[in-house]
Symmetry: C2
């Protein structure tokens, strides 16, 4: 149900949906193989956005005789590759090569096919996700056997709602099977899917969808089709093959936690020198494709012991310490002048890793600041002059106007002078902690502390309780 606050959204009639398919496979030159591949991939990607394989691995795809069933077979193949355990119920098969090929591909992945007879009447014990790929937008009339019975079994799953017992979630491909394509679930006795994946554009019945997760897939709609049918659709993020329609359900913050599954962090594996160990973890974070591996939370405390923290970019590190740059008259600058001690915190979420670094802080030599300042993009150099960091600014335009002016002034390529109060700080660590998230919150924590061993500083490693 689209609430008034969300952006406009188009819904297609049955005839429009059929016309668009004909156009895509006619004058626009798509083959059904191509469209079905992208549609099935969108369904699999939507499922993976919400129902993670660690908790929802057993997927039953119930596939109908037509294209909707084909989308389900393709989705199952991709779900297999994404780490799920798919099962297929495909009672009414067609001899068309595309479809026999889809079955062969699944056979080659040892994906099991289950007959209607072998399927348990109560599907709730054996599956975590049920993909309803029985009927798509060409459906009309009443579902014939065995699909009438299969739909009945899905409907009966919904009675688990009251018993709060964990029950499989239902994901409908394009149309909840059995619904009227435009008017939805007439007698309100049909399937109530938890997720609907609309393909190309939502159909009219999607207005009656009440489940928590509505996604759009089929990232191939050209402008000519969008204009002709005045399609108002959400834009796909990045390289994603699906996009959520509307807002996600409100989350219960207190239940928000990830059961981390990670490699062990053992004493015998780590480096004796924590800076070398940091370099190892830093390179692995870069390799994992993190966008800003060098972003760190810098925590300071003023003379009244009031802590404050903000994200800054690490700009270099070696055995002498960890360097970042800033305006010395900013809040962090003034905190550090009152209390030259800080904590750095790296959090590389997709690796379930933190690194904590603590120690005294000093300014770096002015020459080092000069070199680095002039290595920055000229836009950032001008930004540093314009911004009296952390000071109150009367309005956004003040910054932008001054920025424009300076950009013109230095458009001749002349050297942009480093502001006097701009430069680097270096933290010289006396403590590191490497934290690796583990299941049931029994995380690995290896702390390096700098100790005096016969008059020389040496790193001691301890394991801390999580």
């Amino acid at each position: 149900m689209q609430d008034s606050g969300s952006p406009p959204l188009s819904y297609l009639t049955q005839r429009e949906a059929a016309e668009i398919d004909e156009t895509l496979m006619g004058p626009l030159g798509f083959s059904i193989d191509q469209l079905m591949e992208l549609a099935g991939l969108s369904v699999a990607a939507s499922i993976a956005e919400v129902y993670k394989p660690e908790e929802y691995s057993r997927v039953l795809a119930i596939c109908g005789p037509g294209n909707n069933g084909g989308d389900g077979l393709v989705a199952a193949r991709h779900l297999h590759h994404f780490g799920y355990k798919p099962f297929i119920c495909y009672p009414k098969r067609t001899a068309k090569p595309l479809y026999t090929g889809l079955v062969t591909q699944l056979d080659s992945l040892s994906v099991p096919f289950v007959s209607v007879e072998d399927l348990p009447d109560d599907l709730s014990k054996d599956f975590d996700v049920i993909v309803d790929a029985m009927f798509g937008f060409s459906f009309h009339g009443a579902p014939r056997p065995p699909f009438d019975d299969l739909i009945r079994r899905l409907v009966s799953l919904q009675n688990y709602e009251q018993t709060l017992q964990k029950h499989p979630v239902i994901v409908s491909v394009d149309i909840p099977s059995g619904w009227h394509v435009e008017e939805g679930d007439h007698e309100d006795g049909g399937i109530k899917p938890d997720m609907l994946v609309s393909l190309t554009a939502p159909k009219l019945c999607a207005k009656r969808f009440r489940g928590p997760h509505h996604f759009l897939g089929g990232r191939f709609v050209p402008p000519s089709v969008a204009e002709k049918y005045k399609l108002e659709l959400p834009s796909y993020p990045g390289t994603s093959m699906c996009v959520r329609i509307g807002k996600p359900p409100k989350v219960d913050i207190s239940a928000m936690r990830v059961n981390y599954v990670s490699p062990e962090l053992l004493e015998e594996q780590v480096e004796t020198d924590p800076t070398v160990q940091f370099r190892k973890w830093f390179d692995e974070a870069v390799a994992a494709g993190l966008r800003e591996t060098n972003a760190m939370a810098l925590s300071t405390a003023n003379k009244d012991k009031k802590p404050s923290s903000r994200m800054v970019l690490l700009k270099g590190f070696d055995e002498n310490g960890f360097v970042w740059f800033t305006n010395y008259e900013s809040k962090k600058g003034s905190d550090l002048s009152e209390n030259p001690s800080a904590a750095l915190l790296f959090y590389w979420e997709i690796l379930n890793r933190q690194v904590r670094i603590e120690g005294p802080v000093e300014r770096i030599p002015e020459s080092e600041s000069e070199n680095y300042f002039h290595s920055r993009p000229r836009g950032s150099q001008i930004g540093a002059i314009v911004s009296k960091q952390s000071s109150v600014v009367p309005g956004r335009h003040v910054l932008y106007d001054e920025y424009e002016e300076l950009t013109k002034q230095y458009s001749d390529g002349s050297v942009i002078p480093k502001p006097k109060n701009w430069g680097g700080f270096r933290l010289k660590p006396n403590l590191f902690e490497f934290w690796q998230g583990q299941p049931s919150r029994l995380h690995d924590r290896l702390q390096y502390s700098l100790q005096d061993v016969n008059g020389n500083p040496a790193w001691k490693i301890h394991r801390l309780a999580p």
Copy 2:
């Protein structure tokens, strides 16, 4: 070049590559439409991993007469949908429906086709990325016109390396065109691509690839093929259609920065109550699909003003404050008992947003801690008993042994008692800052501070210099 430290990797001969294709399209039932769709999508996804559209939007795809060229045409379509501006040079066309369809699809997206004659001799000014999709693994002999000339133009681009002038990067699809499929670049006078996207599995010539970015695509290899050819390949992460082979090039940390492109954050848009504003941003972060939206850096300082910070999970917030749970005898617990003041920092990277919250901290009522403790998964409850947080532990096994024991002890489902020293803290904010990253570091910063207005506390909003 594969260094000794990286995992083993398979390289196919020309004959093996051809055999695998025949198997996929023969007994394994794939159509060429399906394979080409997934191959082209992998190429586009690999490009998007490294060369972001904000900086590398103008892509020239040079497509040859065969399947390699088809992969390039599909990649161009997906790159268009990902926000790039593709151009196609496709001099030797085939009348096969699949290929004419691919051209029609690109025409429908108004992707321009450029003849060889209209292409500038020096490609460096007009393009940021050049996709070399001329010849694939069936290539042998010498490239014939016009491809010999097109390859010459790509080679000449590489002479820019010395002049440090920005020059287009070259991405080769499966085989750098003109290379021998097994022996590589005989006379060392051929293309030196910056990125190679190997499809299905790398071919032998990939051993001679020296560029910084080697990716694998074609996420459809079934076990039968992998076993027959003893394929050692990296595993694809999550739902990604490509995976990097080997380590990414060492990054110059000082040059690591993202030029944030975000919506403006204006005074007239934000809520008067910062907690309501936080709820808005929190829901948008959840909607963006962040894995742990409620993860925050908690910064404390001990009696000697030494700051420290670590990630904790926000478990609830309302007008009374922000709540998290922990062991009261941990480092953060002891800091807060010495100095009941903290800073919270949320960093929602993909939205280029930070929220800073500061204020005094107090323990929450014991009853609230009890309720929340028993709402946690039983594994986490046992973890809280086992872990004397931040204390030194002799070894990992100590924790796991005790955890096993307690799990058995409470396997009867009996109530797990909350440890006395475990409970919640509440921070009562007197300062919020909402930070939205903007280009050239001219970030939007709106700070709410709690002030006394005629004897009543009221939030005042100021814009701070970035």
